[in-house]
C-alpha cells in the first residue's frame, strides 16, 4: 500500500509494506464490521412512540456470546499480526546478514547535520581514501551495506523512507544496522527524532547509484576526500 | 472552615477514612522511591565504578541514623498505644520523642553531608553521588515533613483532640523508616 506513495528501494521495504497491508485489511475488516453494525443499530432502534426499550442484562451466556466470540476472533487476528510483524522485525533489526562484497558506512548525526563516511575505493573504513560527505550519502544498488550510527550531541534518528529504515542515533553509542538497496534513485534522508531548534532543518539526500555511476562518483571525490576528513 | 462532611465519617470500605488515605499515600510514595531506586540499581549494575565511590560513604554514621530512626518508630508505636487508651498527654509526649529522633537524624545527616561535600564529593562529582544526594535528600524531606506534621498532631493530641491522627502519622513515620531501611544498604553497605 505504501508503494503507492514511495518506491520500495530496499530488500526489506516490501516486507514492511506487506505487514502494513496485512494489518490494514485485518483491522479494516473489523473496523468496517463494527461501524456498520453500530450505525445500523442506531438507525434500527430509534425511539418510536409507545414502544419501550428491551430489558437485556447481557449477563446470560446466550447474550455474552455476542461479545466473547468476536473477541476471541480478534485474539486470533492479533496472533496473525504478531507472527508477521515479528518475522520482519527479526529480519531488519535482529539479524545482520553478511556478504563477501559488503561495505560499511559510518553515519554521524549532530545538531543539525548528517556526516556520512563512505569507505571509498578500497571498500574499508578508516583508511585515507574514505570519502566524507555532509548531508549526502552515496550507495551502490544491490550491494549489502552495514551502517555504524552514532551521534555527537543529542538523540537523532536516521530515517530513509524509501528503505522503510529508521534507527535512533544515541550519543556515546554506536548502533550497527544494515540495508541493501534494490533500485537506483535520489531520495530524502530524514531526522525523525526531535533534536532541537534545527530538527526541521537537517534534511539529507541518499543517492542510490549503479556500480558505474558510483565508481565515477568516487573517482571525482578522490582528491578532496582527504581535505574533507580533516575538515570534520 | 467548613465542618467535616458526613462523607468523611462513612466507612463503606470497612476502614477509617484517614487510615485508608494514608495507605494510598504510602502506595504512591512507594512507586516514587521505587522508580528512583530502580534507576539507581540499573546504573549500579552497569558501572563497577559505583562501588569505588560508595566506599567513601561512612557506614557508621549511616548505621547510627538507622538506629535513631528505628527507636523513634518505637516511640511512634507507644504514642499510638497511648492514643488508643485515650491518654492524649502521653501520646503527645511520645510524639515529641519521635520527632526528636527525626531531628537528630537530620542533624547527623547535615554534618555527614557537609563533611562529604568538603571532601569534594558533590552531587555532580559522580553519578553515584548524584543518586546518593537525590535519594537520601528526598527521604530527608519526608523526615522533615513527618516531624512538622507530628508536632502539629501532638499539639492537638495534648488537648485530647483528633487522637486518631496519632495512628496516622505513626503509619507514615513507619513508612519513612522502611524507605531508609532500603536506602541504607543500597547506598552505604553494598561496596
Amino acid at each position: 500500500m505504501i508503494e503507492r506513495f514511495l518506491p520500495a528501494s530496499s530488500t526489506f521495504a516490501s516486507d514492511i509494506d506487506f505487514v502494513f497491508s496485512l494489518i490494514f485489511w485485518l483491522v479494516g475488516f473489523w473496523l468496517v464490521v463494527s461501524e456498520v453494525l453500530f450505525f445500523w443499530l442506531i438507525a434500527r432502534f430509534r425511539k418510536r412512540d409507545g414502544q419501550k426499550g428491551q430489558y437485556i442484562t447481557g449477563e446470560l451466556k446466550s447474550e455474552k456470546r455476542f461479545i466473547t466470540i468476536p473477541h476471541l476472533l480478534v485474539l486470533v487476528c492479533d496472533v496473525f499480526i504478531i507472527f508477521f510483524a515479528v518475522r520482519v522485525w527479526y529480519d531488519v533489526k535482529q539479524s545482520l546478514p553478511t556478504a563477501p562484497d559488503q561495505q560499511t558506512i559510518r553515519v554521524v548525526a549532530q545538531q543539525w547535520a548528517w556526516t556520512f563516511v563512505h569507505p571509498g575505493p578500497d571498500g574499508k573504513l578508516d583508511t585515507p581514501d574514505d570519502i566524507t560527505k555532509v548531508n549526502e550519502l552515496h550507495v551502490e544498488v544491490d550491494k549489502l551495506y552495514h551502517f555504524q550510527l552514532t551521534s555527537k550531541d543529542v538523540l537523532h534518528s536516521f530515517s530513509v523512507p524509501v528503505f522503510r529504515l529508521k534507527q535512533d542515533a544515541i550519543p556515546g553509542r554506536v548502533i550497527t544496522g544494515w540495508f541493501q538497496p534494490t533500485r537506483t534513485g535520489e531520495h530524502d534522508v530524514q531526522c525523525t527524532e526531535i533534536c532541537g531548534v534545527g530538527h526541521g532543518l537537517m534534511p539529507a539526500r541518499i543517492h542510490i547509484e549503479t556500480p558505474e555511476q558510483h565508481a565515477s562518483w568516487m573517482a571525482e571525490q578522490g582528491e578532496f576526500s582527504v581535505a574533507a576528513v580533516t575538515g570534520r | 472552615m467548613s465542618a467535616r462532611p458526613i462523607a468523611t465519617t462513612r466507612t463503606a470500605a470497612g476502614m477509617p477514612t484517614g487510615r485508608l488515605a494514608v495507605w494510598w499515600v504510602i502506595v504512591s510514595e512507594i512507586v516514587i522511591f521505587g522508580g528512583l531506586l530502580g534507576s539507581y540499581i540499573m546504573h549500579r549494575l552497569a558501572h563497577d565504578a559505583f562501588a569505588e565511590q560508595a566506599a567513601y560513604t561512612n557506614m557508621w554514621i549511616g548505621a547510627f541514623n538507622t538506629f535513631v530512626l528505628l527507636t523513634s518508630s518505637l516511640f511512634a508505636v507507644l504514642g499510638h498505644k497511648a492514643a488508643d487508651a485515650g491518654d492524649g498527654r502521653k501520646a503527645a509526649r511520645m510524639l515529641y520523642l519521635t520527632s526528636a529522633g527525626g531531628l537528630i537524624f537530620l542533624t547527623v545527616k547535615a554534618f555527614e553531608w557537609s563533611m562529604e561535600i568538603s571532601h569534594g564529593f558533590t552531587i555532580s562529582a559522580h553519578t553515584f553521588w548524584s543518586f546518593y544526594y537525590t535519594a537520601a535528600g528526598l527521604h530527608a524531606l519526608h523526615v522533615l515533613a513527618g516531624v512538622v506534621i507530628m508536632l502539629i498532631v501532638a499539639a492537638s493530641a495534648r488537648k485530647n483532640l483528633e487522637l486518631h491522627r496519632v495512628e496516622l502519622i505513626g503509619l507514615y513515620w513507619h513508612f519513612v523508616d522502611v524507605v531508609w531501611i532500603f536506602l541504607f544498604p543500597l547506598l552505604y553497605i553494598a561496596k
Binding site: 473489523w30 430489558y55 530515517s159 | 476502614m15 477514612t17 504512591s28 552531587i123
Partner: protein
C-alpha cells in the same frame, strides 16, 4: 443526617453562579472547599487551556500549510517558536485539558453526587490540589515569557536535549516546563487519593460494588492507574531537573548516564496515562448511551473486567514507543505481543457499548450524538494503534504523521468529544439550566466533520513518510510534492473551520447560564443519584442524603409503566 451540615452552608447555593460581584466572591469562588465549585474551577481552567492549545494548533498548522506566512494573530513562526508551540500544545492538551477536565472536573463533580455523599472526604486537600494545579498551569504559561523562550524539546522531554541548555537553548524555559509538569503530577496525586478514598468509603447506604455508576468506577480506576504509574516519572523529573540545573549526569551518556532510562521512566507512565484519560471518557459515554437508549448497560461486570484488564496490561506495553530507540531488539518482540493483546479488552469494551444499543429506544439528543461520535471515532484511533504495535510496521511508521493521526483519533474523541458529551449531559445539573439543542447540534456537526477532515489527511501524509515536529516540509523534495502539500492545506483549513465552530459552543454555554430554560431535577429521566438533587445542588448536595436500592442502569424494566427506576426509590 442533614442537620449535621452547618446551616450557613445549607442554603449558600441559592446565589451560586449568579451575581458574581458580591463580597463573598473570593470565599465562594476561589477559596471554596465545595467539590462542585472545585469541579467548576478545574473545568473553566481546562476550557481556557483547551482554547489555548487549540490556538497553538492553529498557529503551527498554518505554518505547516503555508510555510513562512505571517500567521494572523501570531506572525511569522520561527523554527524555535514552532517547536515550542507543538511541545506545549501536546503537554497542555494532555496534562492541562484532558486530565483536569475528564478526571478532576467530572471526578469532583460526579463522585460525591453519584455515590450519595455530601462532599469529598478531604475538602481542604481537594482545594489544595486545585491550587497546585493552577500554579503549575501559571508556571507553564510563564515559560513563554522568560529569557530564551519556552521549551521546545517535545512533550516527551527526551534527554540529552532536555538535560542540557547548550542543546535546547532554553535554560529557563526547560526548567519551568519540567517543573510545571512535575507540580501537575503532584496535584493529581493528591486529587486521586481523595477520589479513591471517597469512592471507597463514602458510598450511600445500600450502594454495593455493582451499584456504582460506571463513570465513577472508571475515574477511580484511572486515578489508581495514575498513582501507580507516575511515581517513577516524578523521580525522573527530579533527576532531569538536576541534570539540567546542577550538572548531575543521570541521563548524560558522555558521563556515564543513560538517556534511554528516561524513555523507560517516561513511557512506563506515558502509556498507562493514555488509559488514565481513556477510562473516564468511556465511563461518561456509558452513562449517556444508557440514558438515551433507555437500556441497561450490556454486561456491566464485563465492562468492569475489561477496564481492569486494560489497566493491568497497560503496565506491560510501554516500550512500544521505543522500538527503534536503541533498546535491545529482542525486547521489542515481547512488547509487540503485549501491545497487541491490549486490543482485546478494549475491543471487548467497544463491542459491549455497541451491543448496549441493541433493542434500545434511542433519542439522538446532543449528549447522545457526542457519546456515539466518541465510539465511532475512537474505533479508528484504536485500530490504527495496531499498525504501530506491530514492531515490523513501526520501523517505518514511528514518528511519522501516521502516529500523530493515530493518537489524535484517540485523544480528540476522549478529551474533546468526551468532554463535550459530559458537559452537555451534566450541564443542567451543573447550572440548573438546559443548553440550547439546535446550537448544540450545529456545534456537534461543525466539530466532528472538520475533525475527520483534519486527521484523515494526516494518516495519508504519515503513510507517505511525512515525519513529526518539522517546521517546514518544503525542504524535503519528496514531501514537498504538491499533492502532499495540498493535504496539509486541507487539514489546516478544516482546523480553522472547526475552531470557528467552537464559538457556537462558547456562546451556547455562557448564554444558557442565564437564558437557558430552567432544568428540573431530572431532565433526562436518569437513574443515578445526582439527578435526585436540586439543579444545581446546594452545598451539601441533599437535605437528606439518599439511600440506594438498585443498580444504576435499570431502564425499561418490564412491568413498570415508567421506563426508568431511580437508584434511590424504595421498591
Amino acid at each position: 443526617m442533614a442537620e449535621s451540615i452547618p446551616v450557613d452552608h445549607s442554603h449558600a447555593h441559592a446565589d451560586d453562579h449568579e451575581h458574581h460581584a458580591e463580597p463573598g466572591f473570593v470565599q465562594k469562588y476561589l477559596w471554596s472547599t465545595d467539590h462542585k465549585m472545585i469541579a467548576m474551577q478545574y473545568m473553566f481552567t481546562g476550557m481556557a487551556m483547551a482554547l489555548l492549545g487549540g490556538f497553538f494548533a492553529y498557529v503551527f498548522r498554518m505554518q505547516l500549510a503555508f510555510p513562512g506566512i505571517e500567521v494572523p494573530l501570531f506572525g511569522i513562526v520561527s523554527p524555535h517558536e514552532y517547536n515550542a508551540l507543538i511541545t506545549n500544545h501536546g503537554a497542555i492538551m494532555i496534562f492541562w485539558v484532558a486530565m483536569p477536565v475528564l478526571i478532576a472536573a467530572f471526578g469532583n463533580f460526579l463522585i460525591p453526587l453519584m455515590i450519595g455523599a455530601d462532599d469529598m472526604v478531604f475538602p481542604k486537600l481537594n482545594r489544595l490540589s486545585y491550587q497546585i494545579f493552577l500554579l503549575s498551569a501559571l508556571i507553564l504559561l510563564a515559560s513563554f515569557f522568560v529569557e530564551g523562550g519556552a521549551f521546545g524539546g517535545a512533550w516527551t522531554m527526551y534527554p540529552p536535549l532536555s538535560a542540557n541548555s547548550e542543546y535546547n537553548q532554553t535554560p529557563l524555559g526547560t526548567t519551568l516546563f519540567i517543573g510545571a509538569v512535575g507540580l501537575e503530577f503532584v496535584a493529581f496525586l493528591i486529587g486521586g487519593i481523595n477520589f479513591v478514598t471517597t469512592a471507597m468509603n463514602s458510598r450511600a447506604p445500600g450502594m454495593k460494588m455493582y451499584d456504582i455508576p460506571m463513570v465513577v468506577w472508571m475515574i477511580v480506576i484511572a486515578s489508581i492507574l495514575f498513582m501507580a504509574s507516575v511515581g517513577p516519572l516524578i523521580a525522573g523529573a527530579v533527576m532531569l531537573l538536576f541534570d539540567h540545573n546542577l550538572g548531575t549526569a543521570f541521563f548524560d551518556p558522555q558521563r556515564g548516564g543513560d538517556p534511554i532510562l528516561w524513555q523507560h521512566l517516561f513511557w512506563f507512565f506515558g502509556h498507562p496515562e493514555v488509559y488514565v484519560v481513556l477510562l473516564p471518557a468511556v465511563g461518561i459515554v456509558a452513562e449517556i448511551i444508557t440514558v438515551f437508549a433507555r437500556k441497561k448497560l450490556f454486561a456491566y461486570k464485563t465492562v468492569l473486567y475489561t477496564a481492569f484488564g486494560t489497566g493491568v496490561l497497560s503496565f506491560t506495553v510501554w516500550a512500544h514507543h521505543q522500538f527503534i530507540a536503541g533498546i535491545d531488539p529482542r525486547m521489542a518482540n515481547v512488547f509487540t505481543i503485549t501491545t497487541l493483546l491490549i486490543s482485546v479488552p478494549i475491543a471487548e469494551m467497544m463491542f459491549v457499548y455497541i451491543a448496549t444499543l441493541y433493542g434500545g429506544s434511542i433519542t439522538l439528543s446532543t449528549p447522545m450524538l457526542w457519546a456515539l461520535a466518541f465510539i465511532a471515532e475512537f474505533l479508528i484511533g484504536g485500530v490504527t494503534g495496531i499498525f504501530l504495535g506491530a514492531s515490523g510496521a513501526d520501523i517505518y511508521l514511528h514518528d511519522t504523521y501516521f502516529v500523530l493521526a493515530h493518537f489524535h483519533y484517540t485523544f480528540f474523541p476522549i478529551a474533546i468529544i468526551g468532554t463535550f458529551a459530559g458537559v452537555s449531559f451534566w450541564y443542567p445539573k451543573m447550572f440548573g439550566r438546559m443548553l440550547n439543542e439546535t446550537l448544540g447540534k450545529i456545534h456537534f456537526w461543525g466539530t466532528v466533520i472538520p475533525f475527520n477532515l483534519i486527521f484523515i489527511p494526516l494518516f495519508v501524509l504519515g503513510a507517505a513518510g511525512e515525519h513529526r515536529r518539522i517546521w517546514d516540509f518544503t525542504q524535503f523534495p519528496e514531501l514537498a510534492a504538491a499533492p502532499l502539500r495540498n493535504l496539509d492545506k486541507l487539514a489546516t483549513v478544516s482546523l480553522v473551520i472547526m475552531l470557528a465552530f467552537q464559538a457556537v459552543f462558547l456562546f451556547n454555554f455562557f448564554w444558557s447560564l442565564r437564558r437557558g430554560q430552567k432544568a428540573g431535577k431530572n431532565p433526562w429521566q436518569s437513574n443515578t443519584l445526582e439527578w435526585t438533587a436540586e439543579s444545581p445542588p446546594p452545598h451539601g448536595n441533599w437535605k437528606q442524603l439518599p439511600t440506594v436500592y438498585r443498580g444504576p442502569y435499570e431502564y425499561s424494566v418490564p412491568g413498570r409503566e415508567q421506563d426508568f427506576w431511580p437508584q434511590n426509590e424504595p421498591n
